[in-house]
């Protein structure tokens, strides 16, 4: 009821609420560097112009790209204006306006690369191509059977191209102009190709609104506003003339028919990567956590301070940032690790800080007298720890460690930022492709559960076994 009223209000009122993801970056919609409280970008200016043309006020609603269609249908805003491309799967859920801009794709390679001069070259020589996830370029590449590496933002893609982690990058000319053209170590390969369109996305039920928007788009094209805007952003080219002469038939609508079997297998592969990352990282964390814990609780002044700094730093800053730092920062000092190794090392270093705290409690929960008894029997600290303290502490540490391990399965998803393709990345790709966020989401949840449940079960059994072997401080007690 309330929602229906809101929607009506959106019609009657002079406000056009439009959604876009400002984190997508320039030049679409982004926070104005000069004045970070406000936004700018060609989509921003176009939306303003569109609303003005319709005698409405534009209200920008920042949203998330991944779920932008779902948010539209939740009526969080009325239209999507965000370099939004029409696709067949999206067409099932929404209406598209006429195109307001025709984009083309540009392949970019490193300056010194003379082998790749077209997309075809990438295929024949088995080179990897980076692009954004869930866009015309990614679909084109996937349908063409290329080795694709999906990125969340153009910066990462071009940076990896520079570092040689991918061999080419395919991107909208708009993004390419903004992010790659000025980069002296990159160069365009071949001419722009594959015309696509940016359209306004509208809810299926709002066909009235759709026709008003189409009229407005035509007017803006006719009165030169569109040209002025895109000229200002240096994105105007002769391609755009087609906007006035022909209808919306000029662009290629990329489509992907979704094959469930293939999708599930794809998820399975991604899950295997996730498990691999999690186990690798946990091994590092579990081992590195011990010296950190002992250093912090029994070390001298300096050791103690160093351990505390390590712990608070790695625990206190986002693992995503740590991964980015390792991925883009280490190459500066000459160490270029592949993404998966960076993810394992980064997550391992991060979780070691957490494990150390778990161990510390566990060690301290073992009565100090147990150390003394061990000493009186001639043990040195290391042996006393290994033979007497550790076995008792392990039982106490096990449930929080299980917690961390389960959390780690999901934290591997941060590896997407350094372009490691794992379960969460696969989810987003597939969900976007099918627009079936709920369905695929549930399946992905099952995959995660399929990882964590056996782990939790095994940990629980181990816990009980240790309990039966009774570590005393945990005596069950009801039996005498």
């Amino acid at each position: 009821m309330l929602l229906a009223l809101q929607s009506l209000a959106a019609y009657g009122s002079p406000t056009l609420r439009w959604g876009a993801d400002p984190s997508g970056g320039a030049p679409y919609v982004y926070a104005d560097p000069a004045n970070p409280q406000t936004y700018t970008g060609f989509d921003y200016e176009f939306a303003e112009a569109l609303a003005r043309q319709m005698r409405m006020n534009a209200e920008f609603v920042p949203t998330d790209w991944e779920s932008i269609v779902a948010s539209l249908n939740r009526r969080e805003f009325d239209v999507i204006i965000n370099g939004f491309e029409p696709t067949e799967d999206r067409a099932r859920e929404m209406l598209f306006s006429k195109p307001y801009y025709l984009f083309r794709l540009q392949l970019t390679v490193r300056k010194d690369n003379n082998l790749i001069s077209s997309l075809q070259d990438c295929k024949t020589s088995g080179k990897s191509v980076g692009t954004l996830v869930n866009c015309a370029a990614s679909r084109l590449l996937e349908n063409g059977g290329y080795i694709v590496k999906g990125y969340q933002d153009p910066v990462g893609a071009y940076q990896d191209l520079e570092l040689g982690r991918v061999d080419a990058v395919l991107m909208d000319v708009a993004a390419e102009m903004f992010y790659a053209r000025r980069n002296p170590s990159l160069k365009p390969a071949g001419k722009p190709f594959h015309t696509g369109a940016y359209v306004v996305g509208i809810r299926k039920s709002d066909s009235l609104l759709a026709s008003r928007i189409n009229t407005a788009i035509d007017s803006l094209a006719d009165n030169g506003t569109t040209e002025r805007i895109f000229r200002k952003w240096q994105l105007w080219d002769d391609e755009q003339l087609k906007l006035r002469t022909k209808g919306a038939e000029t662009y290629d609508m990329t489509s992907r028919t979704f094959n469930w079997t293939e999708g599930l297998i794809k998820l399975l592969k991604a899950a295997a990567v996730t498990v691999f990352l999690a186990f690798g990282a946990m091994i590092i964390a579990v081992i590195l956590g011990i010296p950190l814990a002992l250093g912090q609780s029994k070390g001298g002044r300096i050791t103690r301070t160093l351990c505390t700094v390590y712990i608070e730093f790695f625990r206190g800053t986002p693992v995503l940032v740590q991964l980015l730092f390792l991925y883009f920062g280490l190459p500066v000092v000459g160490i270029t690790l592949p993404g998966w190794l960076t993810a394992i090392v980064g997550l391992g270093l991060n979780y070691a800080a957490y494990e150390s705290q778990v161990y510390r409690t566990a060690f301290q929960a073992v009565p100090e007298r147990q150390w003394q008894v061990a000493y009186s029997l001639g043990m040195r600290p290391f042996k006393a720890f290994r033979r007497i303290i550790f076995p008792q502490a392990f039982r106490i540490a096990l449930p929080p460690m299980t917690n961390d391990f389960v959390a780690l399965f999901k934290d591997t998803s941060t590896a997407f930022a350094i372009a490691v393709w794992e379960l969460a990345t696969a989810y987003r790709e597939l969900a976007n492709a099918t627009q079936s966020y709920l369905g695929i989401g549930l399946i992905v949840c099952l995959y995660y559960l399929a990882m964590s449940l056996p782990l939790a079960h095994y940990a629980h059994r181990l816990e009980r076994k240790l309990q039966r072997k009774s570590t005393g401080i945990l005596t069950s007690g009801t039996e005498q």
Partner: protein, 247 residues
């Protein structure tokens, strides 16, 4: 020869030990008696090298530690600690090991004895104290008296030069405490020194070679057992012994 020279230990403003000095030969049994809360346990811990003290020094055989050394993690303190074994008043068995495991842990993993040998020896000791049938139980599955016997054997199994015991028979019935007495006497007979804190003057009579009586944080007197019991020099000793006879 154990020599304690003027050791002192204070926690906060409370003196736990003040200027305690004593000396007695190796291979003998020293009984320590005295009212509750007078520092007997504290003294034992200091001799074992586990509790740092503030003043004085302790010498066992040729090794000695001073007050400063007692609180440092030096090679010396580890050597000093190695000479003595201790049975704590509250036992502190290893809860994650069986009875056998508790006893063989140190011989196997510190002295490097073969496991089979260590277990055979442990079993013989267990049988001697009548708890052989409990060898595979965990400490919490034992009765109080059984636990106490395991703690004694755990210390003896390392064959320390000096064995320190803090009320080792408090939970034992008369028959079992007789067994422990015999075991300790045999142990002392092989040249080991035994220091035993006990509330039972009856238990120590005819067993300990020397007796030391602790007053509030200080050593009141020390003598051969016979002499101390029959001819106490201090009023406080007399009163304490009088009560012991009564109850």
């Amino acid at each position: 020869m154990i020599t304690i020279s003027g050791i002192g230990k204070t926690v906060g403003a409370t003196p736990l030990l003040s200027n305690v000095s004593m000396e007695f030969p190796a291979g003998k049994i020293l009984g320590v008696i005295g009212p509750s809360g007078n520092g007997k346990t504290t003294l034992l811990l200091c001799i074992s090298g586990l509790l740092p003290f503030d003043r004085g020094s302790i010498t066992i055989g040729v090794t000695s530690i001073t007050a400063e050394e007692s609180s440092l993690r030096s090679e010396k303190i580890w050597q000093f600690r190695r000479q003595s074994g201790i049975v704590f008043q509250h036992l502190h068995l290893f809860p994650h090991l069986t009875v056998l495991g508790n006893i063989t842990e140190a011989p196997v993993h510190v002295s490097g004895k073969p496991k089979a040998v260590a277990e055979k020896e442990a079993l013989a000791l267990l049988e001697k104290l009548g708890i052989g049938q409990h060898r595979n139980k965990y400490p919490e599955e034992l009765s109080g008296g059984e636990q106490q016997r395991v703690a004694i054997l755990r210390a003896i199994a390392m064959n320390p030069e000096v064995l320190l015991l803090d009320e080792p028979t408090s939970a034992l019935d008369p028959i079992r405490s007789g067994d422990v007495r015999n075991l300790l006497q045999d142990f002392a007979a092989t040249g080991h020194t035994v220091v035993i804190v006990s509330h039972s003057v009856r238990f120590l009579r005819g067993f300990a070679d020397y007796l030391a009586f602790m007053g509030k944080s200080e050593l009141i007197e020390m003598n051969r057992t016979q002499q101390l019991l029959e001819n106490p020099q201090d009023e406080r000793t007399r009163e304490f012994l009088h009560h012991s006879e009564m109850n």
